[in-house]
């Protein structure tokens, strides 16, 4: 049975964002986050393992540069809070580090691709085991649709309509659309 986590080779069919498109989108999202929250006081940026961690680092770099600030950066592995955790491999490298008590803070979760929304739901659960944030916002590089839960992003790099059979890969060279074969 080919489950959602089955292995296969990703074959890119089209590049939908170039590396510089991604860089500009991160810059724009950094500005949007600052605009929405009137600066970066109380903000904590948390990248979701594994795809959101690199993006979160770049987002924090931009925010710090724009504001001349030191915004706390964390990472979160929500696997253990997923509704299909029993079928997931346990990756011991995917660490969770929440650098400050999130209670009373604005936590911005960062992920590469927003799809069904189940990872984000698990992350909402997981973050609450560290404290009670004042607000949680969501930043994603690609929103590919097909949500299965009432979850929407606050900051989006690109809205990308896809078919379910397609795959989206955010990598160092940009964003590719393709299929697993």
């Amino acid at each position: 049975m080919a489950g959602p986590h089955s292995s296969g080779v990703f074959q890119a069919t089209a590049q939908v964002m170039s590396a510089s498109d991604v860089t500009r989108a991160i810059r724009r999202m950094a500005h949007e986050i600052l605009e929405r929250n009137s600066g970066c006081a109380d903000i904590v940026i948390v990248g979701l393992q594994t795809g959101g961690v690199g993006l979160a680092e770049r987002l924090v770099d931009d925010i710090n540069e724009i504001e001349g600030a030191e915004v706390p950066l964390g990472s979160l592995d929500a696997t253990m809070h997923r509704d299909d955790f029993d079928l997931r491999p346990i990756t011991s490298e995917a660490a969770t580090t929440i650098p400050v008590d999130p209670t009373g803070k604005i936590v911005v979760l960062v992920d590469d691709v927003l799809y069904t929304g189940r990872t984000v739901r698990a992350a909402l659960d997981a973050i609450h085991s560290y404290g009670r944030p004042k607000a949680i916002q969501l930043a994603v590089m690609v929103d590919r649709g097909h949500r299965e839960l009432p979850i929407r992003p606050d900051f989006v790099g690109k809205n990308l309509p896809t078919r379910r059979a397609e795959m989206v890969d955010v990598n160092i060279g940009g964003v590719d659309l393709g299929e697993i074969s």
């Binding site: 489950g3 986590h5 292995s7 809070h81 079928l87 491999p89 659960d125 085991s129 795959m167």
Partner: protein, 316 residues
């Protein structure tokens, strides 16, 4: 690791399985440090704690582990049960099983009891200690603690000292440490060693002073006075002098050597009171790590579909 239905003995695990369980334990240590240390991994599952023999730490440790994974627990102490009215072990097990449980943690004074019990229930069995035979989750907690301090255990020298004869902890740890590539040495008087050690992956000495300077782990066993039916040692004082970790002996340990003990300690018998409080004594860590290791065991037995998990994960 391979799918696992029961954990009865350290013999059930190979090195890869142990590494997997210890890596998973690392994750559960992180969960345990959270403000709200609870994940939904075993929601809807019931773990029965069936204890026919006294235990504080093992029982509380399993109950805490099950709670942190959101499982329900059902406690069963022989002191308060119908066993005192003459109910047989089999009837007792079948009664508990009928309540719809997924896992049974069993402690029993009879060596081999979990192997029989496994035939009378559909639940996964964890051996929480059977007589003088096995106590695998204690060994896993000890391996985890040692690995955290010493790194790779391959080639390390581990002395297991004292009442080996009566100790299931000694048996489980000897198997566990040797599977991880460590060299295990039993240190005990002849009267506190089993009649035969044939097939055991250990060497034996009757002289602690001979090895004290070259070991990486000094693992002291509890003197199990309740299991002694003859005079195994002339006096406890003499035992302490010959085989106890005195302050003078502890001074001769290498600086990075660990002092371990499964608890509860008889201070002044197998270990001098002041030695147990030294910085390289990791005895309370063994207890704390015991919770996370038991979370890992419970999750692997009844929470994970290891038969369906694939190692590689596709892109989002």
């Amino acid at each position: 690791m391979k799918p696992l239905r029961h954990l009865l003995s350290m013999d059930d695990l190979d090195r890869d399985d142990i590494d997997y369980l210890l890596d998973l334990t690392e994750r559960y240590v992180e969960v345990s440090e959270r403000k709200i240390p609870r994940i939904p991994a075993l929601r809807g599952k019931t773990v029965a704690l069936v204890f026919f023999e006294d235990s504080t730490r093992t029982r509380v440790s399993f109950a805490t582990a099950a709670g942190r994974l959101s499982a329900d627990t059902l406690g069963f102490d022989v002191g308060r049960s119908s066993v005192n009215k003459g109910e047989s072990l089999r009837d007792t097990i079948e009664t508990i099983s009928a309540m719809g449980i997924h896992c049974m943690v069993l402690r029993h004074h009879g060596a081999g009891a979990p192997w029989r019990v496994r035939e009378w229930t559909d639940a996964s069995i964890v051996n929480g200690g059977d007589g003088r035979n096995q106590h695998p989750t204690q060994a896993l907690a000890d391996l985890f603690t040692a690995r955290r301090h010493l790194g790779d255990l391959n080639g390390k020298r581990v002395a297991i000292v004292g009442d080996v004869k009566n100790s299931r902890v000694a048996r489980s740890n000897a198997i566990g440490f040797s599977k991880m590539g460590a060299e295990v040495i039993f240190v005990a008087p002849r009267t506190l060693l089993p009649a035969s050690l044939e097939g055991w992956p250990v060497s034996v000495t009757h002289n602690l002073d001979e090895v004290i300077e070259t070991i990486d782990v000094c693992y002291l066993l509890r003197m199990q006075l309740e299991r002694h039916n003859g005079a195994a040692v002339p006096t406890l004082r003499e035992f302490h002098h010959e085989f106890g970790l005195t302050a003078a002996r502890a001074d001769r340990l290498r600086d990075d050597a660990l002092i371990m003990h499964p608890g509860p300690m008889n201070r002044g018998v197998e270990i001098a009171g002041v030695v147990a409080d030294r910085p390289n004594a990791v005895i309370t860590e063994q207890v704390a790590n015991g919770v996370a290791v038991r979370m890992a065991v419970l999750f692997v037995l009844i929470g994970s579909r290891l038969d369906l998990v694939e190692e590689q994960s596709a892109v989002a």
